[in-house]
């Protein structure tokens, strides 16, 4: 590339007339364009969903019995399950047991549902109940199960300029943040957390906006970083926040426990009518596996060693059947 520039320039330097300039301009335009195009293609790291290739769906769910190369299942999920490390902890067990490779596409709930709608994922693990229900009602999914839940928490700087520490009502807490015009970082990415945040603002009767309200349009991890750096308030799922405390974050939990902060996760098997590439029976196997007792026990153990408490609470029907007696 350097040589090309040097040569082009050399030729140009010797040219004094006007008519021969056009080809050189073309050379330069294409060169510069090529440079910017190259930059585009190499630098944009848009998350594109790999689709389930051209493998035929298996007849039986007994994939482990087949010696053939591992099959691939695409799981579109929210950033919280990935950022907290839960999937990295759970999925290897599934992959080993069934000889399946699970490709995780971690995006906001909005895009995860869109990936399912477009047939670019086989299974969805998301947390926005109302939107999951309309996804099912529109016929995009064949099956939805409760998997687990955790809690949202309102985080803020230790100094707590808006004075919301210990508030039991999340909506009132956010109302105070708005009144104090203390900086608040929003996910702003149409994710499950963002959906929840909007619901709390609505409950508070506040239309957030202005210099203090920062809509970052990024994942939970990035938003925690920004809020920590700017000493701002934010809403996070407790799992991602707790996982981040290991790396030293100054934000503190100021408000928790309000029922509005309840955060249930559901798993959805995408409707196989989206195309032959949808791994219907494998998807079904993964859903069964996620809600089955052994996996639920693992979920209940996740994070206990590091944080002294689980990051997620199991919530499947199978779990409740066994633990109904323990409840309350």
């Amino acid at each position: 590339m350097l040589t090309a520039v040097a040569n082009g320039n050399n030729t140009l330097g010797k040219l004094v007339g006007g008519c021969k300039r056009i080809p050189n301009s073309f050379l330069l335009i294409s060169l510069a364009l090529a440079a910017s195009l190259f930059a585009c293609s190499s630098r944009a790291d848009l998350p594109l969903a790999p689709s389930g290739a051209a493998e035929d769906p298996v007849g039986s769910g007994d994939a482990a019995a087949q010696p053939a190369e591992p099959q691939k299942l695409t799981l579109a999920t929210t950033t919280s399950t990935e950022n907290s490390g839960l999937l990295g902890y759970l999925l290897p067990h599934f992959e080993e047991e069934y000889g399946v490779r699970v490709d995780v596409v971690a995006v906001g709930t909005g895009q995860a549902l869109q990936l399912g709608r477009d047939g670019n994922a086989d299974v969805l693990l998301v947390h926005a109940r109302a939107r999951e229900d309309s996804f099912m009602a529109e016929g995009h999914g064949v099956r939805r199960e409760d998997v687990m839940y955790n809690d949202f928490v309102i985080l803020g700087p230790a100094g707590d300029p808006a004075g919301i520490r210990g508030q039991s009502n999340a909506a009132e807490a956010l109302e105070r943040v708005a009144q104090a015009e203390a900086p608040f970082v929003s996910r702003g990415d149409d994710s499950g957390t963002h959906t929840k945040e909007r619901a709390i603002w609505e409950a508070a009767g506040v239309e957030p906006g202005g210099d203090w309200y920062l809509s970052a349009g990024q994942g939970m991890g990035a938003v925690l970083t920004i809020a920590d750096e700017l000493q701002a308030y934010t809403l996070s799922d407790s799992a991602t926040y707790l996982a981040r405390t290991l790396e030293g974050i100054e934000l503190r939990i100021l408000v928790e426990g309000d029922p509005i902060l309840f955060n249930p996760y559901g798993v959805i098997a995408v409707n196989p009518t989206k195309g032959a590439h949808i791994q219907a029976s494998l998807a079904d196997t993964l859903v069964d596996w996620l809600v089955a007792l052994p996996t639920q026990e693992r979920i209940a153990q996740f994070g206990v060693a590091e944080f002294g408490a689980p990051l997620f609470t199991p919530d499947s029907a199978a779990w409740h059947r066994v633990h109904a007696i323990d409840a309350d």
Partner: protein, 237 residues
């Protein structure tokens, strides 16, 4: 395929209606990348000329560093700038008014200047070295000073220098890793075209993402075209 066509249609609609949210994003992209380009031009062109014209010990090393810099991943630049400016970083800790805070346009300008600087300096050096050495001997024999000599060579290599600036611009207007990291993609503050495209894709708004992609491409094309047309007029006069 449908999404691509719908995206282009949406791009035309957004431009035609002068969508205010889009205008804000485009203007910030141009402001940040333009300022960064200005900074890297006023520093990179002189350095490139110096490297191309003079022989001094350590020149090879500087050149090697420069060439490495030309292929430096923007995310690494972003990460370094982030760590410097962070509240717990060496510059952020100073709390000087001149040090920009993270998640502000000034931080993005710094990162993009660092990305485009090696390109501007490296391409300028190559352009200057491409000028016929006979010319330099000639003007030296006419009694030109070193500065006059350098200016004459630069003017002779002006197209190459212009290409260096365009290449610098192309590398930063389309860059997403560093501005995402140090800018934070905050609406109305630090959201530029590339980070907005990533966001809209994540939200599943492929139409809007594609529309902004089309605008970004047109922007790069028009800038290149405008600069080259301007250059052509300077020649033809």
């Amino acid at each position: 395929m449908n999404e691509i066509l719908r995206g282009v249609a949406e791009a035309v609609r957004l431009i035609a209606t002068g969508d205010p949210a889009l205008r804000e994003i485009v203007l910030l992209s141009l402001r940040v990348s333009g300022t960064a380009l200005l900074l890297s031009t006023v520093t990179g062109v002189p350095l490139g000329a110096l490297l191309g014209l003079s022989r001094f010990s350590g020149r090879r090393l500087v050149t090697a560093v420069l060439y490495t810099g030309m292929g430096f991943p923007p995310v690494v630049v972003g990460l370094s700038v982030y760590l410097m400016l962070s509240r717990s970083g060496p510059l952020g800790q100073l709390d000087w008014p001149l040090v920009p805070t993270l998640f502000a346009p000034a931080a993005m300008v710094i990162a993009q200047s660092i990305i485009s600087f090696p390109l501007v300096a490296g391409f300028t050096m190559a352009a200057v070295m491409g000028v016929d050495p006979q010319l330099r001997r000639q003007i030296e024999s006419l009694g030109a000073t070193r500065v006059q000599n350098a200016l004459t060579v630069l003017s002779e290599a002006r197209v190459g220098v212009l290409v260096s600036i365009i290449a610098g611009f192309g590398s930063i207007i389309s860059e997403v890793g560093a501005v995402m990291m140090v800018g934070g993609n905050i609406e109305h503050r630090t959201r530029v075209l590339t980070t907005a495209i990533v966001l809209e894709t994540r939200k599943g708004n492929f139409d809007l993402a594609m529309a902004m992609g089309a605008i970004l491409l047109s922007l790069a094309f028009l800038t290149n075209l405008a600069v080259l047309l301007f250059q052509g007029r300077m020649f033809d006069r």
